[in-house]
């Protein structure tokens, strides 16, 4: 029987972890639990549930800064930001909807978002969640309070532990307070669509766009069969796969840059333009990877150098028979497989051949118990990572095994 511990204050969080350290009881750390099926299963009799540790500590739109308790829901935060026409610039999609059916919009907590370092289409221009975390306060796996960073934009005061915590899946410490950089929404956004069925050619088109001075803020490729899922008439009417390039900024600039991009890429195929609402819809679908959402089938996220994206996508599709979609100008490829075989060896071998890596985002639990979800680390880096984890969580009580297969209770391999 699993016991759920739900601290409502940072002090209670410290007590809970302190108890677990002393009692050597592993904890599965969750926010709302929306991404629990991402990564490996944690073997723990106790769940540390942060969803009651909530609240906005301060939000100063003119200072571009927001500080919240880690269990605060993304839905609440997004609503607050929208009121002031601001946003998280890294544009995370509704990732939990890739793991299950019927997931609400903006599912999850801010703590979970940072712990998994998610980011959406705008990453190619502005970075990932980790680039927008200004500071945090946490309790480490030693049961001790620690913090790093602050609330200001520029800061080199001590090691940048904000980076360490981002994407660490709660294995080093449990954050209770998170301070983020927020950004104003752009005045205008439009998207140029270019007809293109071939992923390799799409990769070339995206490269040319990214190398131009048009400040493209998102670049994706969608296969013809997936375009219908976007529900945008202009896009569907083109009847082909599509390269999509977004530009954002002041209205006159956006119009000018769309024009420039269409000229620059004229040789690649016919083009169309999506204006405000359609453009927003389009990128929401890309950010959510909606065509590949839900619980059925397996989903890989393959990432590598952007210029290799087209080749990588074509190879992955041909060798696995799966469906592919490209984001981040080719640096991120979503691969959906419908059989019961994750084809991990094939996928990882293709990824590595282009200096890339592959993460198994969605797969049945029994498969995730056998196949490493995250791309295997280089042995030298794995040793350093291991030492870091042992120093922050010496007893191995925080999400043991979440990031690595074969690490069981007590942190022993």
């Amino acid at each position: 029987m699993t016991e759920v511990i739900s601290p409502t204050t940072p002090e209670q969080l410290r007590d809970a972890i302190g108890w677990a350290v002393d009692a050597k009881k592993p904890l599965e750390v969750i926010g709302s639990g929306s991404k629990r099926a991402y990564g490996h299963a944690v073997a723990a009799d106790h769940v540390l549930d942060l969803s009651k540790l909530t609240g906005v500590l301060f939000y100063e739109p003119e200072e571009l800064v927001l500080s919240v308790r880690a269990g605060t829901s993304l839905a609440e935060i997004q609503a607050i930001l929208r009121e002031k026409n601001q946003q998280f610039h890294f544009e995370t999609g509704n990732f939990p909807a890739l793991l299950a059916d019927d997931v609400a919009q903006n599912a999850g907590t801010i703590g979970g978002l940072i712990a998994t370092n998610l980011s959406g289409p705008r990453r190619i221009k502005v970075g990932a969640a980790r680039d927008h975390l200004l500071g945090f306060e946490a309790v480490s796996g030693r049961g001790e309070d620690f913090k790093s960073g602050g609330r200001v934009m520029k800061n080199v005061t001590g090691f940048d532990l904000s980076k360490l915590m981002s994407g660490s899946f709660g294995t080093l410490g449990v954050m209770h307070t998170i301070t983020m950089k927020v950004m104003p929404c752009d005045e205008k956004a439009r998207t140029v669509l270019i007809a293109c069925n071939d992923p390799e050619r799409a990769g070339m088109a995206m490269n040319r766009a990214m190398g131009s001075e048009n400040e493209v803020s998102a670049a994706a490729w969608v296969a013809a069969e997936d375009v219908a899922r976007f529900g945008i008439d202009v896009a569907s009417a083109m009847g082909t796969g599509l390269v999509a390039l977004r530009v954002e900024g002041p209205a006159p600039s956006v119009a000018w840059r769309c024009e420039a991009l269409r000229k620059l890429l004229a040789e690649f195929g016919a083009s169309e333009e999506l204006h405000t609402t359609n453009s927003a819809t389009f990128w929401k679908v890309v950010a959510d990877v909606a065509p590949y959402g839900g619980s059925s089938g397996m989903l890989w996220r393959v990432s590598g150098p952007p210029a290799s994206g087209g080749v990588l996508a074509a190879k992955l599709a041909a060798r696995t028979g799966g469906k592919v979609m490209m984001d981040w100008a080719g640096a991120q490829i979503w691969l959906r497989l419908d059989g019961s075989d994750a084809m991990a060896g094939t996928v990882r071998q293709i990824a590595q051949s282009q200096n890339g890596q592959a993460v198994l985002v969605r797969a049945p639990a029994d498969l995730r118990a056998e196949v490493p979800v995250f791309h295997p680390e280089d042995p030298a880096l794995a040793r350093i990572n291991r030492k870091i984890r042992d120093n922050f969580d010496p007893v191995g009580i925080l999400n043991p095994g979440r990031m690595h297969l074969n690490i069981t209770e007590g942190g022993q391999v």
Partner: protein, 497 residues
């Protein structure tokens, strides 16, 4: 007074053997420097108040040599101080009497420009501006631009997570690095990141950037390069008070405009720079804003209008828009020469580097005037206003007994004030030795111990750049000990289900 770790007498006694070993690893002429007069140029970095002759200086030429040197140092427990171009302002490359200073300046080659992936692979001794020089013929540039960019090395930029005047819009070093090759103190060569955007495991790229040479020696750097904006124009805006200027900055950003550059100077800085470069700055204002907008011409023209209107609403008493590239550069020439301009009117100056929440600017400037009177020293301020990064320039005369100490106390008081209002000790220069002893102003003992535990994962014997960043290094034993505590009764107050 600054206390550094005591020199290890065993190391000093073995100096001859160490030199011989280093010459074996780096046989090139001039690769190992041992004579006092040749060691002299290495005795300090950009923080010239502190000097110490290194035991020896080694200039390796390739990664294999760096690995061999570090392996030797690890085996023989010899301390190491990594050094780039030596332009750092916080004393991060201050030598130690018993340490080998490893200068990375022979790593000066651009290895690859990958246009398709918009990445440059360079050796760490390449200067910041050198990267832009290598890619500008195709219209690209490297965005972070610390004011020392003509001299500072990209390896040093990694160590200090350097910023510059464009960081509000384009980010700091950490947001622009894609990959690193680094050698650990054990001599192991790590390759982290690459030309893609993801890495497995913890974000080592993120923690090594800004780690001030305490975790390893970087031997190769991959950065992203950006297409240069089509055009850039600047506005000079004068205000009767720093409040009005600060208010204008807040309004610009609240309006959704993120300028490429957004700088502020106070009256003493305006006067000193105008006297020096004659940029045409108004001398009858209390605060001068320099706002640069970059992008397609149509965007820049549009935003210039908008910013001009915001400035009028905020009570700007002076407004000038650059009408040519020459004029834009002239506007910048004052700001970019602020440090030497202060150097002209004062025998010595000390450049501080704190960051504050922007809204607290007026309050901090007023507080600084009070401190200025208390310490009897003048101060001028240049300010990366967009991201709240202050550079107070404290003027003093090191030849007057006690003035250096007073300047240091003044500087420490300014930084304490920054922390008090919610800011931090360093925005872009790093902690080094300069602000090391102020770390407890911001961090508890446990905060610092957790940072040191990260250090421990890379350098258990604390051989890499000792005496920097942390006021006292706790021993490995203390950091690893898990303190028993009494959590009575399994936390009865916490809701459980």
């Amino acid at each position: 007074m600054l206390r550094m770790p005591e020199p290890n007498p065993n190391t000093l006694a073995r100096r001859k053997d160490i030199i011989a070993a280093m010459r074996e690893i780096v046989p090139a002429t001039g690769g190992v420097i041992v004579d006092e007069d040749q060691l002299r140029p290495y005795e300090c970095d950009g923080l010239m108040a502190y000097r110490q002759l290194p035991m020896i200086v080694v200039l390796p030429e390739n990664t294999g040599q760096v690995a061999a040197i570090l392996k030797y140092c690890h085996t023989n427990k010899i301390r190491v101080v990594p050094r780039g171009a030596g332009t750092g302002l916080s004393g991060g490359a201050l030598p130690m009497a018993d340490a080998i200073t490893i200068s990375m300046m022979k790593f000066n080659r651009v290895l690859e420009i990958d246009w398709d992936n918009r990445a440059a692979v360079v050796q760490p001794g390449v200067t910041n501006l050198g990267i832009t020089r290598a890619v500008e013929h195709k219209g690209f540039y490297y965005a972070p631009d610390p004011s020392s960019q003509i001299a500072c090395s990209i390896g040093g930029n990694i160590a200090e997570n350097s910023g510059g005047v464009h960081s509000l819009k384009y980010g700091l070093t950490t947001n622009n690095v894609l990959g690193l090759e680094m050698v650990t103190i054990e001599g192991e060569i790590l390759r982290i990141g690459g030309k893609g955007l993801d890495q497995s495991g913890y974000d080592l790229l993120g923690i090594i950037t800004g780690s001030e040479g305490l975790l390893g020696i970087v031997t190769e750097v991959t950065v992203r390069i950006l297409r240069k904006p089509e055009t850039a124009r600047a506005l000079l805006l004068g205000f009767n008070s720093s409040e009005a200027g600060g208010n204008c900055v807040a309004k610009i950003i609240a309006d959704g405009i993120i300028p490429g550059g957004l700088e502020m100077m106070d009256a003493p800085a305006i006067k000193a720079t105008e006297d020096f470069v004659h940029a045409g700055y108004p001398l009858d204002v209390e605060a001068l804003l320099l706002v640069e907008l970059d992008g397609p011409k149509v965007e820049v023209d549009y935003l210039i209008e908008k910013v001009g209107a915001i400035a009028r609403d905020c009570g700007a008493v002076y407004s000038r828009i650059s009408e040519s590239e020459e004029e834009r550069l002239l506007f910048w020439s004052g700001r970019k020469n602020a440090f030497p301009a202060i150097g002209r009117i004062s025998p010595d100056y000390m450049c501080m580097d704190g960051t504050i929440p922007r809204a607290r600017l007026a309050e901090v400037l007023t507080g600084m005037q009070v401190l200025s009177q208390r310490h009897g020293l003048r101060v001028a301020n240049v300010f990366h206003a967009g991201d709240g990064n202050l550079h107070p320039l404290i003027m003093f005369d090191a030849n007057q007994p006690g003035e250096l100490e007073r300047a240091e106390e003044f500087g420490a008081d300014i930084l304490k004030l920054c922390v008090e209002v919610g800011g931090v000790l360093s925005g872009e220069h790093g902690i080094g030795v300069e602000k090391r002893d102020l770390m407890p102003e911001m961090f508890t003992e446990d905060d610092m111990k957790h940072q040191e535990r990260l250090k421990l994962a890379f350098d258990e014997d604390e051989l890499l750049n000792p005496g920097k960043v942390f006021p006292t290094l706790h021993g490995c034993g203390e950091l690893k000990t898990l303190h028993a505590r009494e959590v009575a009764n399994k936390f009865p107050d916490i809701p459980r289900f």
